[in-house]
C-alpha cells in the first residue's frame, strides 16, 4: 500500500492562491462573503498564510500553503467521538459526512486549523452564484458527495482522483495528482508515494533540506516543506 504525501517547495511558491481556488472548484467548497472570510466562517480546504519576521528594512515574508497535513498521528482522529474521521490505509485522513455529528471537537484539536465547519447549506451552483446554474451535461455530477450544513470537512488529497486513477491503472503522482498540484503554475507542489524511493517526492526529500509544520506537536505530518 502506498503512503501518499506532498512536498511543497517554498522557494518556488509565489503565493498566487491558485491552489486555494482549484481546491474550491474541484471539491465544490462554498465561497464566502468578505465578512465571512474575516470571521473565518468561510471554509478553506487549502489556505495560504503569510508569515512575516522583522520590520521593514530587514523584513522576511514567507508564503506557506497549508492543505491538510494528513498526519500519521492525527489529533482529529483521536478526538472524534463518532469515528467520522479516520486514517485510511494509504495514509489519507478522510471525513465521513454521514457519521459526523458536528461536535467540532476536531476543529479545536487540529494544530493546523485545516478543519472547517460547514456553516450553511451547500449550494447546488458552482461558485455559489445563483445566476449560473451548473451545466451537468458538461461537468457531470460533482465528484464529491453532497453534504449538508453542520458537518466538518477538510482536504482529502483529492482521494476521488487517486481512487479513480488506481482503478484505471494510471500512474499516481505523474498522470493523476490532486487539484492543487495540478493548478500550481510554478510546480511548487509535488505529490507522490513517500514509500517509493524512486518517486519525485522521495527524491526531493532525500536531496534537499525539509521541515514539517509544528513538529513539536508530534503529529508526524505527511506534507513536507522545502526551505526557501
Amino acid at each position: 500500500m502506498a503512503r501518499w504525501g506532498m512536498v511543497i517547495d517554498l522557494d518556488k511558491c509565489t503565493g498566487c492562491q491558485a491552489c486555494t481556488i482549484a481546491c474550491k472548484e474541484e471539491n465544490n467548497v462554498p465561497f464566502g462573503s468578505p465578512y465571512e472570510n474575516i470571521r473565518r466562517l468561510a471554509p478553506y480546504w487549502n489556505k495560504v498564510i503569510a508569515a512575516s519576521e522583522g520590520e521593514y528594512p530587514s523584513l522576511n515574508i514567507e508564503m506557506i500553503p497549508m492543505p491538510c497535513m494528513h498526519c500519521d498521528n492525527p489529533p482529529c482522529v483521536q478526538v472524534c467521538p463518532a469515528k467520522a474521521t479516520y486514517l485510511r490505509e494509504d495514509g489519507i485522513v478522510v471525513q465521513n459526512f454521514r457519521r459526523c455529528i458536528g461536535c467540532k471537537y476536531c476543529i479545536a484539536a487540529c494544530p493546523y486549523g485545516v478543519r472547517n465547519h460547514n456553516y450553511k447549506e451547500q449550494e447546488e451552483h458552482p461558485y455559489n452564484r445563483p445566476d449560473s446554474p451548473p451545466d451537468r451535461s458538461v461537468i457531470g455530477p460533482w465528484p464529491f458527495p453532497h453534504r449538508t450544513h453542520g458537518v466538518v470537512e477538510k482536504c482529502t488529497f483529492c482521494f476521488h482522483r487517486i481512487d479513480e486513477g488506481i482503478k484505471e491503472g494510471k500512474r499516481i503522482g505523474i498522470d493523476v495528482v490532486p487539484a492543487c498540484v495540478e493548478a500550481c503554475p510554478t510546480e511548487a507542489r509535488v505529490f507522490g508515494d513517500l514509500k517509493d524511493p524512486n518517486s519525485h517526492v522521495s527524491r526531493l526529500l532525500a536531496t534537499r533540506g525539509s521541515f514539517v509544520l509544528r513538529e513539536k506537536m508530534g503529529t508526524r505530518p505527511k506534507v513536507h516543506y522545502l526551505h526557501k
Binding site: E36, N37, I38, R39, R40, L41, P43, K47, I49, A50, A51, S52, E53, N60, I61, E62, I64, M66, P75, V77, Q78, V79, C80, P81, A82, K83, R99, C100, I101, G102, C103, K104, Y105, I107, A108, A109, C110, P111, Y112, G113, R115, N116, H117, N118, Y119, K120, E121, T148, H149, G150, V151, V152, L213, R214, M217
Partner: protein, 408 residues
C-alpha cells in the same frame, strides 16, 4: 425517615405567572433553535477559530452546578449531617434538572443535533479515545444514577440511599474531571492545554454548586413562606469560603505554570490580552474578591442578604469563568509558522453574540427553571410549612434567579 417532605401548593397567581413567563421564554428559545437548525450555525457567533459558542459555555456551567449540588446533598445522605436535611432533596432534584440542561445544551451545539444518539453508542460506533465519547458514558451514567438516587430518596430507602449516594458522588467527581479533560487535553490550543484543568473544573463545580444551592434555597424558602434556619445558611457560607480559596489557588497555579515556561504567549494573552478584563473583573472579581470580602467580614457574614449577594456573585462569576475559557481562550491564534502570521489566520478570533444564540441560551435557562418549579409542585422536595397561615406560594424565586444569571 418519616415523610417530612411535601410539594409546594402552587395555586397562587404568582406561581402561574412565573410558569407562564418561563414558558414564553422557552418558546422563544425553541423558535431560535428551529431557525438555527434550518439555517445552519452561521447564525451563531462561532467560527473555525472559536469552534464552540454559548451552548458549550452553558453545558459546562450546568454540569458544574449539577455536580456541585449533588455532592452537597451527600452531606446528609452519605455523611449523615442531619442539619442539612431540609435542603438535601432539593439539591438532588436541582442536580438532575441541571444535568438534563447540560445534555440539551451539548445537543443544540452539535451541527447535526439529530445525530445526538451517536454519542451514546458506547464501544460500538464510538471512538473511545475521544474525551467526548468517554464523557458520553460519564454524563449518561450520571443522569441515570442521579435519577435512581432521587428515586430511592423519594421511596425513603435508607440503606439504598446511602449506597446510591456514594456512587453518585464518586460519579459526579468523575463527570466534572472528565469535562475539564475535554479542554485540558487539547494540546493544539495553548490557552486550554493544562493537566490541572480537571481539578480546576471540579473546584469550580463545588464553588458554583454551593453558591447556587444557597441562592435557590433562600429564594424557594422565602417565596413559599417557609422558614430556613440561619445556621444552615451560614455554615454553607463558611464552606463556600473554603471552596473559593481552593479554586483561587488552582486558577493561580494554572496561570503561573503557563507563565513560567518559555512559550508564555498564551498566558500573557489570558492575563493581559484584549479580553483579559473578563478574567480580572468578571472572573477573579466576582468569584474571589467580592465573595471573600463579604463572607470574611464579621459584620456581614451572618446576614442572609449579604450571603445571598456573595453567592449570586459567585454564580455569575463562574459563568464568566466558563465563558472566558470557551470563547476568548479559543480565540488565541495558533502559531502555524514561526514569526507573525499575517491576516485573519494570525488574528485573534471574533465572536459576535447573535440573537439566535442569545435566545437559545435564555431558552435553555427558562427550560430548567420551568422543570424546577413544576418539579417543586409535583414532587416531595421541601419540608412542610411551619407557619400557621396557609402557604401563599408565589414561586417566582428560582425563575427569577435563573433569569438573572442568564442576563449576566
Amino acid at each position: 425517615m418519616s415523610s417530612e417532605f411535601v410539594p409546594i401548593e402552587g395555586k397562587s397567581r404568582g406561581y402561574w405567572f412565573a410558569v407562564a413567563v418561563v414558558a414564553a421564554v422557552l418558546l422563544f428559545g425553541f423558535i431560535c433553535f428551529g431557525v438555527s437548525y434550518v439555517e445552519g450555525h452561521q447564525l451563531f457567533g462561532g467560527s473555525n477559530v472559536i469552534p464552540w459558542g454559548m451552548p458549550i459555555v452553558l453545558a459546562i456551567y450546568f454540569i458544574g452546578l449539577s455536580a456541585g449540588s449533588l455532592i452537597l446533598s451527600s452531606l446528609t445522605y452519605v455523611f449523615g449531617k442531619v442539619e442539612y436535611k431540609p435542603i438535601a432533596r432539593m439539591a438532588v432534584f436541582l442536580a438532575i434538572v441541571l444535568i438534563f440542561g447540560a445534555m440539551i445544551s451539548i445537543a443544540v451545539d452539535l451541527g447535526r443535533p439529530e445525530k445526538f444518539w451517536r454519542l451514546f453508542m458506547f464501544f460500538y460506533l464510538n471512538n473511545m479515545t475521544s474525551m467526548f465519547a468517554i464523557n458520553g458514558i460519564l454524563y449518561g451514567g450520571y443522569f441515570v444514577i442521579s435519577i435512581l438516587y432521587f428515586g430511592v430518596i423519594l421511596a425513603q430507602q435508607q440503606m439504598l440511599t446511602r449506597i446510591m449516594g456514594i456512587i453518585a458522588v464518586c460519579w459526579a467527581v468523575l463527570v466534572h474531571m472528565g469535562t475539564g479533560a475535554i479542554f485540558g487535553f487539547v494540546e493544539a490550543r495553548e490557552a486550554w492545554f493544562s493537566p490541572i484543568k480537571p481539578l480546576e473544573f471540579l473546584s469550580a463545580a463545588l464553588t458554583s454548586g454551593m453558591a447556587l444551592l444557597i441562592v435557590v434555597t433562600i429564594a424557594t424558602f422565602k417565596l413559599s413562606g417557609r422558614d430556613i434556619k440561619k445556621e444552615i445558611i451560614s455554615s454553607l457560607a463558611r464552606m463556600l469560603v473554603v471552596f473559593i480559596i481552593i479554586l483561587f489557588v488552582l486558577i493561580a497555579v494554572d496561570k503561573l505554570t503557563h507563565l513560567y515556561a518559555p512559550a508564555r504567549g498564551a498566558a500573557l494573552y489570558m492575563l493581559a490580552g484584549p479580553y483579559s478584563w473578563i478574567f480580572w473583573f468578571l472572573q477573579i472579581g466576582l468569584v474571589v474578591v467580592i465573595p471573600l470580602v463579604i463572607l470574611c467580614n464579621p459584620r456581614w457574614r451572618n446576614s442572609i442578604g449579604a450571603i445571598v449577594l456573595a453567592s449570586l456573585s459567585v454564580v455569575i462569576g463562574v459563568f464568566f469563568e466558563r465563558y472566558y475559557l470557551v470563547i476568548p481562550c479559543a480565540a488565541y491564534p495558533m502559531a502555524f509558522y514561526p514569526g507573525k502570521v499575517e491576516g485573519v489566520y494570525g488574528a485573534v478570533g471574533y465572536f459576535p453574540l447573535s440573537i439566535a444564540e442569545f435566545g437559545l441560551s435564555i431558552g435553555i435557562f427558562a427550560m430548567l427553571a420551568l422543570m424546577f418549579i413544576l418539579g417543586l409542585r409535583y414532587l416531595d422536595t421541601l419540608p412542610p410549612v411551619e407557619a400557621k397561615e396557609p402557604a401563599t406560594a408565589s414561586l417566582e424565586g428560582p425563575a427569577a434567579a435563573s433569569e438573572q444569571t442568564s442576563v449576566a
